[in-house]
Symmetry: C2
Subunit: 427 residues, 2 copies
């Protein structure tokens, strides 16, 4: 299934997309804060949004738009103000934002989707947004993905971007994505956002199904601190500009496309976990032997989200008792006599019983994976941003029985800096 | 309902109980590590145990005993080794422990209940236990509660003990309790344990129902780090030695007894939260306006358990956006236009909209409650242990609508020391 190649270009790698990111003056820091993704033709649009009962205006806005009509031309995203807990004025701001970008692009406003990230309880700085929009539209280009990725970031240390290409029939099909998020976040800089573009032609229903399944295996399996935000949004467009035949039902081509979509989402999700506030490494939890996949995913999520497991990993401590404890409380029944735990290649627990293992080697493994994931800092002389690697996770493998259910989850370690970042903001 | 008085004596305050705590040599630290509670007559016994699927041998042992016969004479508790993930040898150790204490007390071994706390994956040091038991039984006395409370502790900074008295008819009835727990804990020193004694006469079924309901409002509403342990146990005995008429069905007297039982459990639960690893204060979350009590309790638990809320409180930051965010993701539907948030007496959010409030005063409130909860350090000259106050929680009040459902939860703040305690243990 994995016959894709990694390419550059992020959300503008697929055909028929432009993107932009500018400084509109929304963030107090003066960093880029307004992003746009545009498809040159109407694209099939799908979305997955926060399940929180406290939601930003843009989330309700997108849900309603997509319910009414699953097509879009543009995604507008502001950073700085979350426009959550802002009541009716916030809803009006969202509607005006959509109208402004529609006018500037000369499209119908019901083809605009919205996302916000920033401080909860703050309305969007509409004056700055109004004056920024013409510049934003003007700067949109086929190489604008990196600028957009930068403009949706808040406390992110690195930007998150990926693009893949595969062949459907004899023509290339591409999917690109950008994301932001690193905890729910200092100072309330809420939110995980991800925008995905694709140039395949897919039916709306199938595209939404593919996206929902991909989200279940990727973004919904990431935990930094367990705090779902008011603004979490994943939006995916498919505009058909690859000129490949329309995919309208499941089959070999649909599976190929879905696998690539899942990979894009998973890479973005891992990048978010790796960039978790204060994190020094990426943790990947692989669970097998459950009665079904969702059971396995639940166990994986619980382990990846355990504060005790996370702080043990930060301490480079192969503390399997905490992993067993977290597995046990996940709400998934299993026979503890069948529990197995591996850290990297080292077997720590077998048939529910502790194994003799080389503690030094286990601790060394944790250290080495953390070191390998550091990446490079930002280079002010070239303008290149900081990087982190998602290719060297700390791998925790857990077997809970003999079932065929399996699943993965990603998280990061819990460090002093997490507390520092989240405690030392003073309102 | 609250016509009780606080008395001293812990689990030996009620009539007909003795207790002991000794140094048996189970803990590497050389601190007290073996505790016993004995009723002079057969007592009605009820229990609430961890829901984890990875459980200590003592948990399965107690569940089976209580299912077969809801009576007990003795509770034996060891600290140092959790006897969890120890397989068949662990089960045999548990059985032998029960037999040894039964022989020493000259009672049937099916009248013994067991609890363990300590390192997961380690079997009880049976040689030390065997040689300790005669001394333990010999030292059991009507003033032994404090010694028992000390012997069940692991990383606890303070011992937890409470006793209350009320009148049923014209005779005093007493309930006492001791507990341990401060996170799921360094280094795997798992577990929340609580033992409650009562001298009322209650029918077994009613006593179990009362205990389950009390646990739902107290221990099940406490969160330090979200990590349910393999060994969590709450055991309650009622031996009838107050010579009051037997309570066999709900009614005024049963309600009075249950209210006092709930108060004992709640005070112990709060003490556990206050002593959370690295905590500088106790947090009490009060939720009203939900459709039913369990919905309110769930919202309260989610807020009390949010890493973001906890680190904001540590930073003395009245960050209501995080409280709103946690409320929203609790899985309980509500209308965000009805959300209200108070910190102490200060109104931060009303009808889902931010209110102007005195941030300085809010931050000052957080600081003052933390300062007031510090208590006194241990006094080596008098032998008195350290104390902490549960009477000055940081109170977060949240309204989610107009329903009659209400509930509370308790937690503590998230500090550098939590990470330090849990990361810096090296196996």
């Amino acid at each position: 299934m994995s016959d894709w190649t990694q390419i550059s270009g992020g959300v503008t790698a697929p055909k028929g997309y432009r993107a932009a990111g500018i400084i509109a003056g929304l963030k107090p820091s003066g960093l880029p804060d307004l992003a746009l993704i545009v498809s040159e033709v109407d694209a099939i649009a799908a979305g997955v949004f926060t399940t929180s009962h406290v939601r930003a205006a843009c989330v309700d806005y997108c849900r309603e738009q997509l319910q009414a009509k699953p097509t879009a031309r543009a995604i507008l995203c502001n950073a700085g103000q979350a426009n959550a807990a802002t009541g009716l004025p916030g809803i009006i701001d969202a509607q005006e934002s959509a109208q402004l970008i529609a006018q500037a692009l000369n499209i119908s406003s019901d083809l605009v989707l919205l996302a916000s990230t920033g401080v909860i309880g703050q309305r969007i700085k509409m004056d700055a947004l109004r004056s920024g929009i013409p510049r934003l539209v003007e700067s949109a280009s086929e190489t604008g993905s990196a600028a957009a990725a930068k403009a949706i970031a808040t406390t992110d240390l690195v930007t998150k971007s990926v693009a893949l290409e595969t062949m459907i029939g004899d023509r290339p099909v591409r999917i690109g994505g950008i994301a932001k998020g690193s905890g729910m976040i200092h100072p309330n800089m809420a939110t995980m956002l991800a925008f995905v573009t694709c140039d395949a032609a897919v039916s709306p229903q199938l595209w939404q199904q593919m996206l929902s399944r991909a989200a279940d295996q990727s973004f919904n399996q990431v935990t930094v601190d367990g705090d779902t935000s008011t603004n979490d949004s994943l939006i995916a467009l498919a505009n058909g500009q690859s000129r490949t035949p329309a995919i309208t039902e499941m089959g070999a081509e649909a599976e190929k496309l879905e696998a690539m979509l899942t990979k894009v989402c998973t890479d973005l999700a891992k990048a978010i976990a790796r960039d978790g506030e204060g994190a020094t490494c990426l943790i990947e939890v692989r669970v097998t032997g459950a009665s079904h996949n969702e059971a396995a995913r639940r166990v994986a999520r619980t382990i990846a989200g355990s504060s005790l497991v996370k702080s043990a990993i930060f301490g480079r401590d192969p503390n399997w008792g905490r992993i067993a404890g977290a597995a046990g409380r996940a709400g998934v029944p299993f026979n503890q006599e069948e529990l197995q735990i591996r850290l990297g290649d080292l077997l720590l627990l077998k048939n529910g019983q502790p194994q003799a293992f080389d503690r030094q080697a286990a601790s060394q493994y944790l250290k080495q994976q953390a070191d390998a994931s550091i990446g490079s800092p930002a280079d002010p002389s070239t303008g290149n941003g900081a990087t982190q690697s998602i290719d060297h996770p700390v791998v925790i493998s857990v077997g809970v029985g003999t079932g065929s259910g399996h699943g993965m989850a990603w998280g990061c370690d819990l460090s002093y800096d997490y507390v520092k970042i989240n405690a030392e903001y003073t309102t």
